[in-house]
């Protein structure tokens, strides 16, 4: 059989056929790459073929909602067997395509609002989940074995050539569009407006097949805004321990904060508590972080040198524009985010990740999985994992690595600080520390090959609760590790089950450090330590540039 029989450009020829069908179906309504919203269905029927891998851009924040609705409205007799790819499965339409028989296979990273319905559909056998990924992992597979054939993306604006401006909420678009465009696929973008001249070009027209002006602007969810009024005294105490016991201790200059009130409390006491400890310039200079409003006072106080973001945050646009030295800004003055690169920075370039969780077991495995919900992972596992491929050294990385390997006969290595912060009891007196993670049961229910763990115990270096900090790097045996965890688990069953003598010994060795051991006066742990105590304070701190979304106003 000679090699000349094989066709080597089948995908390109097929792409041309799809484009030809589209041109025929839209006729003179198609102007260059600009297609009319009223003919979205015609375009999709022309461009899609049964069995296609289709990526619908559902990011953490930006959603291609008009295109998703259009896809979910198609006739399954004409379009079926699709293999869906989502960073975030956020909209009802993302699951409607399965209920209607348009799609039958799914790979994704995070599911947030649809987690409950996803679990129900999975249990009923209506989906076929390939795998649940982290964001960067999924983007990586777009270039290996999960390459989209058709990508439905969202952008702020297009020009008449089909160049796209994605602006502050660029997010996942470059990764999705590049993989699709350069493998013979077709990119369709919904845009809020079509203009003659874009502020800047984020996605070149060469990568774009079609652009459509959606009837209403795509919705962006403010996920990273935390009202300081909701931060409790306990969270302030834990924030003080984090700063004195970890940030100062290791000299953490480069970091990522997971989402939540615990980390918002840390951000808000940098200008007050951290300043009083003389730490400005010594910690928290470089961030892989979305533009958290709670970080405004620390930026204004001179703690922060740089921030690269995964996406933007509603209301922060003008503040970001006014701080071009700190954020990543285009020549037009608006920010550009990029989830893939921020994830990479968080994985390899940061010395510490700190985030909250729902459950921790006796080995330090940390999970946010709950029964009846398939929520997925998002990006946290990339930040909350030791970066074994890393080679460059920093003070914090070397110190952590040395602590982990002290007394062992192994070659020296650094290690990333991965801190899990959690109150020992959650709402309704649910313990955060458990013998067995709910993830095991969820895996059985949802027929997953292994239990879904957000952060593995052997990556966790510190556990911080209102009871103190357990430094797992200094534990020499599995038993010590377990007792160190029990020692900060307070009055939960796990905590009450401690070996008191061992825990005392661990405290003497500094493996467990309580607030008093860190020299922290608990009476100072009040909300007065917050540089901003409410949303209005944040607006004032920004000089009036920050414009909070309506749901956060109380004026």
């Amino acid at each position: 059989m000679s090699g000349s029989e094989r066709v080597w450009n089948a995908r390109q020829k097929n792409r041309e056929q799809r484009l030809a069908r589209a041109a025929q179906a839209l006729d003179d309504k198609l102007q260059g790459k600009i297609a009319p919203a009223a003919q979205l269905a015609d375009l999709l029927y022309a461009v899609l073929e049964p069995g296609d891998r289709v990526c619908v851009e559902g990011n953490n924040q930006k959603q291609a909602d008009f295109l998703a609705k259009g896809l979910a409205s198609l006739d399954p007799a004409r379009v079926h067997g699709l293999h869906m790819l989502f960073s975030v499965l956020a909209l009802p339409e993302h699951l409607d395509v399965f209920e209607k028989g348009i799609a039958d296979r799914l790979d994704f990273s995070f599911s947030g609002p649809q987690a409950g319905r996803l679990a129900k559909l999975a249990a009923a056998g209506k989906l076929n989940i390939g795998a649940i990924h982290t964001y960067l992992e999924l983007f990586g597979r777009y270039f290996i074995d999960l390459t989209p054939r058709v990508a439905l993306v969202a952008a702020q604006a297009a020009d008449r050539h089909g160049n796209l401006y994605t602006g502050p909420n660029t997010e996942d678009t470059p990764a999705i569009a590049e993989a699709t465009a350069f493998s013979g696929g077709i990119v369709i973008a919904q845009v809020n407006e079509i203009v003659d001249v874009l502020p800047r070009v984020d996605i070149p027209a060469d990568w774009v097949g079609f652009a459509i002006q959606a009837p209403t602007p795509h919705y962006i969810e403010p996920l990273f805004t935390r009202d300081p009024a909701q931060i409790s005294e306990i969270q302030v105490l834990m924030a003080m321990m984090a700063i004195k016991g970890i940030y100062a201790e290791y000299g953490v200059q480069r970091l990522n904060h997971g989402i939540g009130f615990d980390t918002a409390a840390i951000e808000l006491i940098l200008p007050t508590y951290a300043e009083s400890l003389g730490l400005r310039g010594k910690i928290c200079k470089h961030w892989a972080l979305n533009p958290h409003p709670a970080l405004i006072p620390a930026i204004e106080a001179g703690f922060v040198e740089s921030i690269h973001s995964f996406g933007s945050e509603l209301g922060m646009e003008e503040y970001i524009r006014a701080r071009p030295d700190v954020f990543f800004i285009g020549p037009d003055g608006s920010m550009r985010s990029n989830r893939a690169f921020s994830q990479t920075a968080g994985h390899y370039g940061c010395d510490m990740f700190i985030g909250s969780t729902l459950q921790i077991d006796l080995q330090g495995n940390s999970s946010t999985a709950t029964l009846g919900r398939i929520a997925g992972f998002g990006g946290a596992p990339n930040m909350g994992a030791d970066a074994r491929g890393r080679r460059h050294a920093s003070e914090a990385w070397l110190k952590a690595g040395a602590q982990a390997r002290a007394g062992k006969n192994t070659i020296p290595r650094g290690q990333k600080l991965v801190v899990q912060t959690v109150e020992t009891f959650r709402e309704h007196m649910q313990p955060a520390f458990v013998d067995k993670l709910d993830a095991w049961q969820l895996a059985e229910q949802a027929r997953m090959p292994i239990p879904p763990v957000m952060i593995y115990g052997d990556d966790v270096t510190h556990i911080l609760t209102e009871e103190g900090i357990a430094n797992l790097l200094l534990c020499r045996t599995d038993e010590e590790r377990e007792q160190a965890i029990r020692g900060v688990a307070g009055y939960t069953a796990v905590g009450l089950g401690r070996d008191k003598r061992m825990v005392e010994n661990l405290r003497d060795r500094g493996v467990i450090r309580r607030a008093e051991d860190l020299g922290i006066d608990k009476r100072l742990a009040t909300r007065d330590l917050l540089a901003a105590k409410n949303m209005k304070d944040l607006v004032r701190a920004s000089g009036g540039l920050y414009n909070p979304p309506k749901r956060f106003r109380n004026w």
């Binding site: 009024a229 909300r527 007065d528 105590k533 409410n534 209005k536 607006v539 009036g544 309506k550 749901r551 956060f552 106003r553 109380n554 004026w555």
Partner: protein, 298 residues
Amino acid sequence: MSTSYLEASARERILAVLDAGSFSELLPPAQRVVSPHLGQLDAPVSFDDGVIIGEGRLGGKAVMAAAQEGGFMGGAVGEVHGAKLVGLLQRAIRKQAAGVILLLETGGVRLHEANAGLIAVSEVMRAVLEARAAGIPVIVLVGGANGCFGGMGIVARCANTVIMSEEGRLAMSGPEVIETANGVEEFDSRDRALVWRTTGGKHRYLIGDCQTLVNDDTDAFRTAAIAALAQSGPTALSLAALEAEQDMLRRRIADFGQADDPMEIWAALGIVKPQAVPMLEAETFTAMTERHRIQGTA
């Protein structure tokens, strides 16, 4: 360093507003005068039933004072809570206090206590009017997160002076109730900026339901309360004053009844940049608007 009135507990507020060290509590928690109803519903009680009452000094003058704790049942008024307020107002008359200072934060009637709660609020209304008739000025402070709603909103409006922060809200029906009854197009209760434009301190100041607008700061409330006490003239309701108030209300609904948004009202009152109003600090706001606002009579 400023102290947020909104964040402070009722106990902290009353101590911060009155002269330092002058407050002496009546029916303190140690006396355990608790709600007789909540136990039957297997609900937690509070030792002071959510309201602190007592005597003290304000700017040197002998006053009675009460502060509702918004954290307990939303500050709602039950039988004991209401009786404490009524008793305080009656005591003010007996002792000829220089004034009664009411730090209100409440959703109104405590529905758990049904008729007892309803009766309690109406008795408070009557007691406020009796105190005024006896020459005792009643000064209301509204600045808590729950606002002052329901029947107690009416009580506030019966006082001589209402002092509010922008974060405070004063109304009868709550935003969710309006939305449920009239639909989201009429009033979107999740549009918090709208809720505050409609019921918050600045709007109330501009349309004549509150006399003083202060920053969210216990010192600012204290200073305003002292000034209100010093300035209060005749406290009793007179026929002339009531007729003038009715006239104001008639004109108000005629002039502004068709407006879709409070900002239209502010513009109509002659305020040049109404959209800038929410972010102004209290002093700047007052200076800019006091000659434009509707002067409600007390």
